[in-house]
Symmetry: C2
Subunit: 308 residues, 2 copies
């Protein structure tokens, strides 16, 4: 079984949606990615940083999912990264109310020795220099490096971002970010331009409108499951990425055909994530529920056409 | 083989997109529906009205596709319905520049005698009273009545619209219209409420984001084909509806499973419609091209998942 290394934030979130609001709760890209990937029982480590204010029970939650947290640095005198946001009524847009970098400002990631030969590396949304530092610590070329990023880094660290983009196999970004990165409105054209920047595979996440996977002239599309109610979209994109990475690490098949399944798994897990605040749904998610929902995805998308 | 009756506008359009603009060209809901349905060689009639200014060659174009136009009334001294619109850069939104009802203001549809027993009736976007008048002329209950409508009728003829909605089997409307009709943001909840208004099947069109088909607790989703470039979206929704209706009339199988295929056919045909201005692409579309693109749809959406 493959090893999976995840780098990203482990953090506090405070979230407000039309359905309610939370105090500081467990959040962070690496947290959501790790929880999603834990569905596949692959040998997973999280590389991150937290402050002395971070509850041990949150780290235990990850450990209890068999995630190695020895790469999570604890800065006793520091404070944990904090993000606060408020979603609009349509749940597709949000305002950031607060971003406190805290310990993240001086984060030098350290990949645990026994994960430096991991097959799959998931670079969660972070400064591209931090993402690059993780890649440089790997002592053999990973079979698959997956990158997530956001518009913020395109605005303030574009050169560093392009350097790391050149080194990855898969990039997973949302539609607006793909457009910003390339200056192209058509996602087909944008994907081709991003492909030319390095990644063999381009995943464009469209939130409630699903996700597209591009590879040369091939395209695959997975819808988001139509839900009665999206309770809290926080972490859905990271959960998608974690399901994608975890499935590939588990199956050790990096073909386009199998990557389609990884996208479906990612979408399936993301559909759970949004059902409750923060990590609430993901931390209790059972295999059985995932398999049931995969059946729903099949019914949602599969057809047997007769040519007419 | 089933008969198909289509009621809707046969009209002039003048269109402006970021790619160019047209003079008055052939347009209208029934035109696009008819051209799409003509792919299936079903016995089709269009019921509509035009003015003395409408070129015979446009009617011939429909006749040459084996569409019966004896139900298209020609008001010699009248002018044909005219719509003009300008698309924004994102191609998802448009401004209406002109709407001249002309002969449409006094349209009393007359279904040709030999089509009053049609199995499939497609009520294109028109005043709900006109749609109802067509239904009332049918001398046996059609197997499938499909309704398209728009927000305009919700604003100014809601009661009449609800009366006709009660009588149809399938309603096809876009996401914003579904939300307006029900006051629900969630499309799942909106579809359930519309279902309660009468239609057993609810199709919600999301433009470039695909289409959803709801039937009781079942949901099916078809994406729009990701295109390099959408040249002109005019008629895409009608083309979708025409493909949907034509496929059902051809196959005479009104099950949910077969309706999935009808949605896929509708999406496939719509993906051609937007490639050129107006009806330009559809009027020359060949069977062979449609079958090729159906293969692309399969590759885009079909997967063989291994549970992990």
């Amino acid at each position: 079984m493959s090893k999976l290394v995840i780098v990203g934030t482990v953090a506090f979130d405070a979230i407000e949606t039309p359905f309610g609001k939370t105090d500081k709760i467990l959040g962070g890209a690496a947290t959501f990615i790790g929880l999603a990937a834990s569905q596949f029982n692959v040998d997973t480590a999280v590389v991150s940083i937290v402050g002395g204010d971070f509850p041990q029970e949150y780290l235990d939650l990850l450990s209890n999912k068999n995630i190695d947290v020895s790469g999570v640095e604890i800065v006793k005198e520091g404070k944990t990264f904090f993000w606060s946001g408020k979603y609009h009524n349509d749940m597709n847009t949000r305002d950031t109310l607060a971003t406190e970098l805290n310990v993240l400002a001086d984060f030098n990631p350290v990949v645990p020795e026994n994960y430096k030969d991991a097959d799959v590396v998931m670079l969660g949304n972070l400064h591209p220099i931090v993402q690059m530092a993780v890649l440089e610590q790997m002592n053999k070329k990973p079979k698959m490096v997956i990158l997530d990023t956001m518009n913020f880094w395109m605005d303030c660290a574009l050169d560093e971002l392009k350097t790391v983009i050149k080194k990855v196999d898969v990039i997973a970004i949302n539609d607006e970010e793909a457009r910003q990165l390339t200056g192209e409105y058509s996602l087909v054209v944008a994907a081709r331009k991003i492909h030319d920047m390095g990644p063999k595979y381009v995943v464009i996440k469209k939130g409630e409108h699903g996700a597209l996977l591009f590879h040369n002239e091939n395209v695959f599309f997975a819808p988001a499951l139509p839900l009665e109610e999206v309770f809290d979209p926080t972490g859905a994109g990271d959960t998608f990425a974690g399901g994608f990475a975890g499935y590939l690490a588990k199956t050790e098949d990096y073909s386009f055909e199998n990557m389609k399944n990884a996208v479906i798994y990612g979408s399936t897990l993301a559909s759970f994530c949004v059902e409750k605040f923060g990590t609430e749904r993901m931390k209790k998610l059972e295999h059985r529920e995932v398999h049931q929902r995969l059946q729903q995805f099949k019914q949602l998308t599969q057809f047997e056409i007769e040519l007419a």
